[in-house]
């Protein structure tokens, strides 16, 4: 009873936040509402007994992604009214597609084909952090390694696209400073006195 009460509370807040994210005029407010939505979905995971996922959601989405968004919104001077210009033009077709997708999802959920695993074994004594860890490093080691490779590629790609050396930029080159010898730099010229 109490759990379902909390479930509805958190779900309501998430939905309200989601609406606010797309409707608020100030982009900073949008990001803040997004963070609130993430926190509440973390709370939903706690209700399900998945405390590890809840923590990950808060750390990854709130800690990294949302703060990144906030930085982008505040640092870059984006003209949001310009982005929203086409809103009226695209609203009918967008809402039509959204409506069709919504109907499809409703039909599917109520068709009874969805397997809902009711007897989840989350309530035994092993904490689910432990469980996820042992699964990740045994059964899913292959995809775990693959995701490592994807992160490596993402890092290399980001560096390739952003690192560039402009000619004529003055910057410190420590190796060349340290390997400088007196004889390379100073030369003694004998000047004849006139």
């Amino acid at each position: 009873m109490v759990t379902s009460l909390f479930f509805y509370l958190f779900s309501f807040i998430i939905t309200a936040c989601a609406v606010m994210v797309i409707s608020s005029r100030n982009p900073v407010h949008s990001v803040l509402f997004l963070i609130l939505a993430f926190f509440n979905s973390g709370a939903l995971f706690v209700i399900l007994g998945a405390e590890f996922l809840a923590m990950m959601l808060v750390i990854v989405y709130v800690g990294a992604v949302a703060v990144l968004f906030l930085f982008v919104v505040m640092m870059l001077n984006i003209n949001f009214s310009k982005i929203k210009e086409g809103f009226q033009k695209y609203f009918p077709i967008g809402s039509l597609i959204g409506f069709i997708l919504f109907i499809e999802i409703i039909l599917m959920v109520f068709s009874g084909d969805l397997l809902v695993n009711k007897n989840n074994e989350l309530n035994d004594n092993i904490p689910n952090t432990h469980k996820i860890g042992s699964l990740l490093y045994t059964e899913y080691i292959y995809v775990f390694q693959l995701s490592g490779l994807i992160l490596l590629v993402a890092m290399v790609g980001a560096i390739v696209l952003t690192l560039r050396e402009r000619p004529g930029v003055k910057k410190q080159d420590i190796i060349s400073q340290n390997t400088r010898k007196v004889s390379d730099v100073i030369s003694i010229v004998k000047k004849e006195s006139s």
């Binding site: 969805l114 059964e139 590629v153 290399v156 390739v160």
Partner: protein
């Protein structure tokens, strides 16, 4: 656990990391050259390892990774195609305005993703491999950062690729919701008993996501812009290699995961194939840029190849596999010529720049003509056999209208191929075209020319091998 079946891929991953180190520690002027050579060598070694380790078939990592005839075939094509594109692209890069040594490394990681993709037998491993193959592609599309078009191509490709990944994931989650598992064998079991609506919607989304990667109409919008904007060696890679992996995984999804639900996916594939053939043929008529033309031609070719999948027959799949081999041969040949076009040390890529090339460079013109005839599907050449096999399977599956439309669109396609030939042979040139004829490219062009001319001799061997492969999917 015995990791022998995946040894080629492990080797490729490790040598990719070593290549990164090599690119850092070699001197700035030669690092691109050295890294490219190293990557070529490691691609070759991993090809040998893969051929050796895939002699038997089996599963690894809880059936997430499968090594069998199909994966061996497509891995061989992928690795050979990559080695060829790296070889033909190794000279022109300097003029193309990029010399980042990470270029071959990114290609190597992308190839690793493709190779793993053609071996995946589980939705999770499929998705991870797909991301590993597409992430480097976004970067190398934009690798010429000083060029506005290249950056635009990278961004466009990235955004649409992310969208397609979203579609794919949405479909996968629906399939997982209906099946309760992500392995293809279990999906096949459930879909044969009860093809529920949720499974069907999931299948539609998965196929749309894959159609993005193969650039089938209506998911083709990014293709011409990305092909035009990306540096030409990169375009050659885009046009040749990723398609093989994507077609392979499409075959695996349709014939391995949803093998008992042919009626559900057949109409979708027919629809995609019809639209791709029609749009690819008609839209290319208006193009004057060779790279855009190749983009539309690749869309049309993928449409033809898909006719074989649409037939739902094993001989159709064997036709698709042979079509992909022929597709590589023709495209490598065509891109060698596009890559060698220069005027005053500038890259030119308009059709009209080819005017009068038949007099100044007869060998180049002759091989281009042969390749274009082959693409149009003129009988004794390779392209004809590919089209013949897929249309034949469509007729056998009673999809006669599909075969008829395929033949009609190839006639339309023949028009724009013949237009290039007309410009090369019958138009007078006002300004001479400089052609970079480096020896290795010309040797490869000769080889491709030989294969195009003599494919009929190898046809029986190809049909037997691919029939053996597809009977075991």
């Amino acid at each position: 656990m015995n990791l022998y079946g995946i040894s080629g891929e492990i080797f490729l991953a490790i040598s990719g990391m070593i290549a990164l180190l090599i690119s850092v520690f070699s001197s700035k002027d030669s690092s691109l050259k050295i890294t490219t050579r190293f990557c070529n060598l490691s691609l070759l070694i991993s090809l040998i390892l893969i051929v050796l380790s895939h002699q038997n078939s089996g599963y690894l990592f809880n059936e997430m990774y499968v090594y069998d005839g199909l994966s061996l075939y497509s891995k061989t094509l992928i690795l050979l195609g990559t080695i060829l594109t790296l070889l033909i692209g190794s000279k022109p890069q300097k003029i193309d305005g990029f010399n980042q040594p990470e270029y071959p490394v990114l290609i190597l990681f992308s190839v690793l993703g493709m190779v793993l993709m053609s071996s995946s037998k589980n939705l999770i491993s499929l998705y991870m491999a797909l991301e590993l193959q597409s992430l480097p592609l976004y970067v190398i599309a934009a690798i010429n950062r000083d060029n506005l078009k290249s950056s635009e191509a990278g961004l466009k490709y990235f955004i649409l690729g992310a969208l397609s990944s979203g579609l794919l994931l949405f479909g996968m989650s629906l399939v997982y919701g209906a099946v309760g598992d992500t392995s293809f064998s279990l999906i096949s079991e459930v879909s044969s008993q009860n093809m529920s609506s949720i499974l069907l919607v999931g299948l539609v989304f998965i196929l749309s996501g894959l159609a993005f990667k193969i650039s089938l109409v209506p998911f083709h919008m990014w293709t011409p812009d990305v092909y035009e904007g990306a540096p030409t060696p990169v375009t050659a890679f885009f046009a040749i290699v990723p398609k093989i992996a994507a077609i392979t995984i499409l075959v695996r999804v349709t014939f391995s995961a949803f093998d008992n639900a042919i009626t559900s996916w057949q109409q979708i594939i027919i629809f995609l194939s019809l639209l791709s053939m029609i749009l690819g043929s008609f839209a290319a008529i208006m193009q004057n840029n060779l790279k855009r033309l190749m983009a539309y031609s690749s869309i049309a070719h993928m449409g033809y190849a898909l006719v074989g999948v649409a037939s739902g027959l094993l001989e159709g799949v064997s036709g698709v596999l042979i079509y992909m081999a022929i597709y590589i041969i023709m495209n490598v040949g065509a891109f060698i010529i596009i890559l060698s076009m220069r005027r005053d040390n500038q890259i030119v890529e308009e059709i009209y720049d080819l005017k009068g090339i038949s007099k100044t460079h007869p060998f180049l013109a002759f091989s281009f003509v042969t390749i274009l005839f082959s693409m149009a599907g003129i009988p004794p050449l390779a392209g004809f056999f590919g089209k013949w096999l897929v249309f034949y399977s469509a007729v056998n599956a009673n999809l006669i209208f599909l075969a008829i439309i395929g033949v009609l669109t190839s006639v339309v396609g023949a028009f724009y191929y013949l237009r290039i030939i007309k410009i090369m042979y019958f138009d007078e040139n006002d300004v001479n075209l400089d052609v970079v004829e480096n020896k290795s490219s010309m040797a490869i062009l000769g080889l491709m020319l030989f294969l195009t001319l003599s494919f009929g001799i190898f046809l029986n061997w190809f049909v037997e091998t691919t029939m053996g492969i597809v009977s075991l999917i």
